[in-house]
C-alpha cells in the first residue's frame, strides 16, 4: 500500500504536462482562433483570412504548432492555407455546406503528409456537384510551410451526395477510418501507410437527409465504436461502428418529438459514456447518460436536461477539446457577440458535468457563425491507443511513449528504478528479463497502466575464428 502511495505522490509532483496536440488550434471562420496550448484556451484573432460560416479543419503537429488549415481563403470558399495565411491549394468546388465538410487525416507512418478531404453538395450548379475530394499536403515542401503534392489535388473519389465527413482511428491504432455520410449511406474508407483505400465499406443509414428541411450532424465517439446523428425529425440515431471492419450496424432510433424541438447537434463525452445534444428554437442542452451499455444498446430514457433558456441558437454545435471539455458554440444574433458555453466535466452525470453558459465570449464583430472545427474523434481519447515502444542498446533501453494528452508519467523499469520523463533511457546493471510498467495520468485525470517485459542479454562471448 505504501508503495502505491509513493507512486501516486511521485506522479502528483510531476508538473510537466505532456501532450500530443494535433487538435490544439481551433482556427474558426472569421479569423477567430482558440488556442488550446494554454488552459483555459487563449482567444486570438488572426491574419489568416477565413470567410464567415465556412467550415474549417485546422491541423497542428503533436506539439500544438499550427501547420495548416482546411478552410477558406479570401473569396475562395474551400481552400487550404498555411499557418501564415497564404494559399496552399484550392478546391474547385465552392459548395458551402453547413455541416462539417472538411477533415484532415495524417497518412500513418508518414508524419509529413496529410489527406485533406472536402465533401461537396452543390445543387446551385448544373450539373449538380456532389461527392468527396482529396488533396495531399506534404509539409516538407515549400520550406516546411507545406504544399500540395503534384498529381494529388482535387481528386474526386466518391460521387454520391456526401453531406458530411468525420474520422477515427482504426483498431490497430495505426490506420484511420474516413467516414462519409451521404443522404442515404455511410462510406468508411481505410487510410493506412499505403494511403487511401478506394474500396469503401458501405453501410445503409437509417434516415434520409434532406438539406432543405433541417440540419443534421453526425459524430463518432472518441473510442471509435459508436456513431450518433441527429435528424430533421427530432430523432437521434445511434449506430455501432466496427473500427476493425468499418461496418456501421445496429441502429437505434429515438424520436424526441414532444420533448424537444429541432434537435441540432450531438457530441459524445470523452469517455464515450454520455451523449449531449442541443436544440435550435429554444436553447436546450440535454445529456443521455447511458450511451455505452453492455449489450450495445442505448438507454434513451436515461436523460438529463442540463440547461435551457428561451433564446434561439444560444447552443448550436458541440465539440470536445483536448482539455476534455465540450465547447458549445452560439450563432451570432443581431446586437449580440458570438460565445461559447462549456461543459467542464462531460464524463459526469447530470448537473455534475458542470455546464457554464457563455464561458467564452468572442470579440465584438467576430462571427464564426456557430461553426466548430472538424477533427478526428480519436484525438480526444488518448487512452485508446496508449502504448510504448523500446529499443535495447545492450545494457540500456530507450523508451518511447505513444499517447495523447498526457499530464504525467511514471516508469518503473523493473529493477527498482523509476523515471518521470516522457521518453526515458534506462541502463540496466544486470542482465535478465525485466517487467517495465508505465503509469500515465491523462489531462482528464484518468489513469492507465501498460506493462511489458524486456530482456537484457549478456554480452557476446569471445569467439574463435575457424579456418576451414
Amino acid at each position: 500500500m505504501l508503495k502505491y502511495i509513493c507512486l501516486y505522490i511521485i506522479i502528483s509532483v510531476s508538473v510537466h504536462v505532456f501532450a500530443q496536440k494535433e487538435a490544439a488550434n481551433w482556427v474558426l471562420p472569421h479569423n477567430f482562433w482558440l488556442d488550446f496550448n494554454s488552459n483555459p484556451p487563449t482567444q486570438k484573432t488572426t491574419a489568416i483570412t477565413q470567410q464567415t460560416g465556412i467550415c474549417t479543419s485546422p491541423m497542428s503537429d503533436s506539439l500544438g504548432n499550427l501547420l495548416f488549415i482546411a478552410g477558406s481563403y479570401q473569396s475562395i470558399t474551400n481552400s487550404i492555407i498555411d499557418k501564415n495565411g497564404n494559399l496552399i491549394s484550392s478546391f474547385l468546388s465552392s459548395s458551402q455546406l453547413v455541416l462539417p465538410n472538411k477533415l484532415v487525416i495524417p497518412i500513418p507512418q508518414n508524419k509529413q503528409k496529410y489527406y485533406v478531404f472536402l465533401s461537396v453538395y452543390n445543387t446551385d450548379v448544373t450539373p449538380n456537384n456532389f461527392g468527396c475530394y482529396f488533396t495531399i499536403i506534404d509539409m516538407q515542401l515549400n520550406n516546411g510551410l507545406g504544399s500540395a503534392v503534384t498529381g494529388s489535388t482535387n481528386i474526386l473519389f466518391n460521387s454520391d451526395t456526401i453531406i458530411s465527413v468525420t474520422g477515427t482511428k482504426h483498431s490497430d491504432c495505426s490506420g484511420y477510418w474516413l467516414i462519409l455520410r451521404s443522404q442515404t449511406k455511410f462510406y468508411a474508407y481505410l487510410i493506412n501507410s499505403s494511403g487511401l483505400n478506394l474500396a469503401p465499406v458501405i453501410s445503409n443509414a437509417s434516415s434520409y437527409i434532406n438539406l432543405n428541411t433541417g440540419f443534421q450532424t453526425f459524430k463518432v465517439n472518441p473510442q471509435g465504436n459508436k456513431i450518433a446523428e441527429t435528424t430533421s425529425n427530432n430523432q437521434i440515431i445511434c449506430y455501432d461502428f466496427n473500427c476493425t471492419t468499418g461496418a456501421i450496424t445496429n441502429n437505434k432510433i429515438k424520436d424526441f418529438t414532444g420533448i424537444f424541438n429541432s434537435i441540432i447537434a450531438v457530441e459524445f463525452s470523452p469517455d464515450g459514456s454520455k451523449l449531449y445534444f442541443t436544440t435550435r428554437n429554444l436553447s436546450n442542452l440535454a445529456q443521455l447518460n447511458q450511451v455505452l451499455i453492455s449489450n450495445g444498446n442505448i438507454d434513451f430514457n436515461n436523460l438529463s436536461l442540463i440547461y435551457n433558456n428561451t433564446n434561439s441558437l444560444d447552443l448550436v454545435h458541440l465539440q470536445i477539446g483536448i482539455d476534455s471539455k465540450i465547447y458549445i458554440s452560439s450563432s451570432l444574433i443581431v446586437n449580440r457577440q458570438n460565445f461559447f458555453s462549456v461543459i467542464n466535466n462531460p464524463n459526469l452525470s447530470g448537473t455534475n458535468c458542470n455546464f457554464i453558459y457563455k464561458a467564452i465570449i468572442a470579440p465584438l464583430g467576430v462571427n464564426f457563425a456557430s461553426k466548430l472545427p472538424n477533427f478526428i474523434s480519436s484525438y480526444f481519447n488518448p487512452q485508446a491507443c496508449l502504448d510504448y515502444t523500446y529499443t535495447i542498446n545492450c545494457q540500456s533501453a530507450q523508451f518511447t511513449l505513444n499517447a495523447n494528452s498526457i499530464q504525467s508519467v511514471l516508469w518503473n523499469f523493473g529493477d527498482n528504478q523509476t523515471s518521470t520523463l516522457l521518453n526515458p533511457t534506462h541502463t540496466y546493471v544486470n542482465t535478465g528479463t525485466y517487467t517495465v510498467t508505465l503509469i500515465v495520468i491523462f489531462t482528464n485525470i484518468q489513469q492507465q497502466t501498460v506493462t511489458k517485459q524486456l530482456t537484457i542479454n549478456p554480452q557476446p562471448q569471445i569467439i574463435k575464428i575457424v579456418h576451414k
Binding site: 545492450c394 557476446p460 574463435k464 575464428i465 575457424v466
Partner: protein
C-alpha cells in the same frame, strides 16, 4: 594470504591482457580463397574485416562465415570479427593472424643428362614435399619427400614435372626446368680404319 592475492591479481591481469584470442598464425597460400567461420548465435550479426587489406571479403561481411580471396603477394595480415547480439551488445573483437606464403616450386637440376648421371629435383617451400612427375608419359607420385634436393634416379627417359605440394600449398609447375632427358646409353663406338 598475500601470496594468494598476488596470484589472483596475476590471473586477473592475464585475463585482461589476453581477453582477445591470440592465435598462432594461420597459413594460407598466396592467391587462394579461404573459408573462415565463427560459432553462430541466433539473432547475432557479425562484422568482419582484414587489417591491412591484403585480401577481399567475398559476399556478406555480416554473417557468421566468410570467404576471403587473398592477394598474390606473400606477407602477414590479420582477420578480425566482432559479434553484435540481438540486444545490440557488441562483443570483443577477435583476431586471427594470417601468413600468406609463396607457393612451392620444383625444377630439375639439369635439363639433359647422360646415361648414368643422377637426376635431381630442387624445391623451394616447406618440407615435406609431394611431387608428381611423368617418365615417358607415365605418372609417378612421390609423397613425403623430406630431402631437398631430391634424387629421382638414373633411369633413362623423358621426365616432366607436373606439380608440387609443400606443407602449405600446391603448385602446378609452370616454369623453370620442368623437362629433363637422361639419354640412352650409347653403344661403344667402333673405330673403323678406312
Amino acid at each position: 594470504m598475500k601470496k594468494l592475492l598476488s596470484i589472483s591479481l596475476l590471473i586477473l591481469l592475464a585475463n585482461t591482457v589476453f581477453s582477445q584470442i591470440v592465435t598462432n598464425p594461420d597459413t594460407v597460400c598466396v592467391g587462394s580463397t579461404e573459408y573462415y567461420k565463427v560459432p553462430k548465435t541466433a539473432g547475432s550479426t557479425y562484422t568482419w574485416g582484414i587489417y591491412h587489406g591484403s585480401g577481399t571479403i567475398i559476399a556478406s561481411a555480416t554473417t557468421d562465415s566468410i570467404n576471403i580471396a587473398w592477394s598474390n603477394t606473400a606477407g602477414l595480415d590479420s582477420i578480425w570479427v566482432f559479434e553484435v547480439n540481438a540486444g545490440n551488445c557488441k562483443g570483443d573483437t577477435s583476431k586471427l593472424k594470417v601468413a600468406r606464403v609463396a607457393k612451392p616450386t620444383a625444377q630439375f637440376d639439369n635439363a639433359n643428362l647422360c646415361s648414368g648421371n643422377i637426376l635431381k629435383v630442387i624445391f623451394t617451400g616447406y618440407l615435406p614435399f609431394s611431387l608428381e612427375y611423368t617418365r615417358n608419359g607415365t605418372i609417378i607420385v612421390q609423397n613425403g619427400i623430406t630431402q631437398n634436393p631430391y634424387t629421382i634416379g638414373t633411369q633413362s627417359g623423358n621426365y616432366h614435372l607436373v606439380n608440387v605440394t609443400d606443407k602449405n600449398c600446391k603448385n602446378l609447375i609452370l616454369s623453370g626446368t620442368i623437362n629433363s632427358l637422361i639419354a640412352q646409353p650409347l653403344n661403344t663406338l667402333q673405330i673403323i680404319h678406312k
